[in-house]
Point group: C2
Chain length 317, copies 2
């Protein structure tokens, strides 16, 4: 088993690939040329693969190097998302821009948006709390939070909102599953009577499924398997344990890589809208407005929600 590489070295490798030079790559990452040289050498030694063609006019990637580089880029991308997310979490209290979001949004979308936002607005402290949809709405109402992100189709009293993305639950199975080759879409009735792998009762996706089925007058059968985390569900499906309904955001990469297969459904609406919510009256201020614009530009064709301006009733406790 190859020991794990370290992220700094991967970062460096990518930079060398871009700049065709150890020296400039080194100072681009705030270190010196010998350090960079040693790092890459160590990486080559560890991997047992030559990555760089070093010459006295610069260094370029070997063909193996280019390949490794492309894998490294994905790693670094994910690391950046993690870092953005963590930064937002840490700054929860001292934040200039306070956000609250439900899990799906916080996991899959917010780090990207925050990253983009901070590239536009320098020195911005973003704070993030992860809560369920009703708590998010409460905090937005109380003014503790500048902007909230929720996935609930619930009533939004005295809040303004806008759809920023549209998620969809997709029916997925392992490639070996008999449904993988199925051509006719699965109907609502069949879905309701098929035991699925699912999250525990009360989780967002589980609720969405049940709501969607109830909307067609059906009650879902007991699940085949109940697991505590989405990734656990995902890997159970991949091993062929059975079908599951999972967020498109979660399984996109698995579908592309062929680890999972999507099965078409019909007669049931598994879409759910992800909304930004903010306090009535106060239009989102600078950074919040920027984020809102950015998110809705990124997420979906701007289909602005009709502002549900109800009575501004004060139900602070």
């Amino acid at each position: 088993m190859t020991e794990l590489p370290d992220i700094e070295s991967l970062q460096l490798l990518v930079l060398v690939g871009e700049h065709r030079s150890l020296t400039t790559a080194a100072e681009h990452v705030g270190t010196t040329q010998p350090a960079a040289s040693k790092r890459i050498s160590a990486l080559e030694r560890r991997f047992g693969v030559r990555l760089l063609d070093r010459s006295h006019t610069g260094s370029t990637l070997t063909s193996d190097g280019r390949l490794v580089c492309s894998w490294a880029e994905r790693v670094i991308e994910d690391v950046n998302l993690l870092v953005e997310g963590v930064n937002a979490l840490r700054r929860e209290r001292t934040a200039q821009l306070s956000l609250a979001a439900s899990l799906t949004v916080a996991e899959h979308l917010l780090p990207t948006w925050i990253g983009d936002l901070r590239r536009q607005v320098a020195d911005l402290h973003v704070g993030l709390q992860v809560l369920n949809s009703t708590r998010v709405c409460e905090l937005v109402r109380s003014g503790e939070i500048d902007l909230g992100f929720i996935e609930s189709p619930r009533r939004l009293r005295s809040l303004r909102s806008q759809i920023v993305a549209r998620d969809r639950l997709v029916l997925v199975v392992a490639p070996g599953h008999r449904w993988a080759r199925r051509r006719r879409p699965v109907g609502a009735a069949e879905l309701a009577t098929t035991p699925l792998i699912s999250r525990e009762s009360g989780s967002g996706t589980r609720d969405t499924v049940e709501q969607a089925l109830l909307a067609t007058g059906l009650t879902p059968v007991e699940p085949l398997l109940e697991l505590g985390s989405t990734t656990a569900v995902r890997s159970s499906v991949a091993t062929g344990a059975g079908p599951a309904l999972l967020s498109e955001l979660v399984v996109a990469s698995d579908l592309a890589a062929g680890n999972l297969r999507e099965v078409a459904t019909t007669g049931i609406d598994l879409h759910r809208t992800l909304r930004a919510v903010w306090h009535t009256g106060a239009a989102p201020s600078g950074a919040a407005a920027e984020l809102l614009a950015l998110a809705s530009r990124a997420g979906s064709s701007p289909r602005t929600a009709s502002a549900r301006d109800a009575k501004s009733e004060r139900d602070r406790s």
Copy 2:
């Protein structure tokens, strides 16, 4: 800027989350309990976020910890792909199973397959070479390679082959681009007369586009921008420079995250088949057969075209 975390610590965090115990997580990764404790502490200090609720009966993740963990899982997943890929590259010469593949397959699919394969067959040395399609075929014919993977629609003389996956070039634009809101699909003629961001001439995807257009009797106009790497194209598109045709495998995550938007096309076939090829007569031996089965199970069942249909029914609220 938060300093970058190291992969071992992230790995450890995920394990602690699973095992609810520092001790067992530590030995699971081949180290001692104090080391693990210090690592996690360091991670918390670096991030400025509490990740673990430590008690005398075990340790569980905080809610922040769970979130960080979910981001960490993606990082680790990509790291594993990188490691699998590198392992295959290194073992090129001493391999028990020699593979050759074109870039797209090698980048996006093979690491996964090899990982799965090595989980089934212990102590397997897999060798990988990355070459263009014609070279792959040559090596397979000469017997130097047990199994090849190509994306060419070319003639396969004296080779047996099997479709293992189906890739598709999708037309993508930035979310702010005017085409992002477009409802009518883009036709072949319009595509041919629109300057696109693309790879340099001779690259696989560029060729595919030109072939597909030529098949409809059209010659593409000069590109808007010519870039040397697929990721460069991808980020140019994301910044709004213009539209591009990119492999579904490349942009899947960006589409899910909303960094890019897909624009429907019509009147042009942008599919391309990814095939495994092997030598006539000699049926693939043990490991090769296993890999072939695994790959075609993962990729080849008929793709649900209704995934697109679901998109067109976005008129609800």
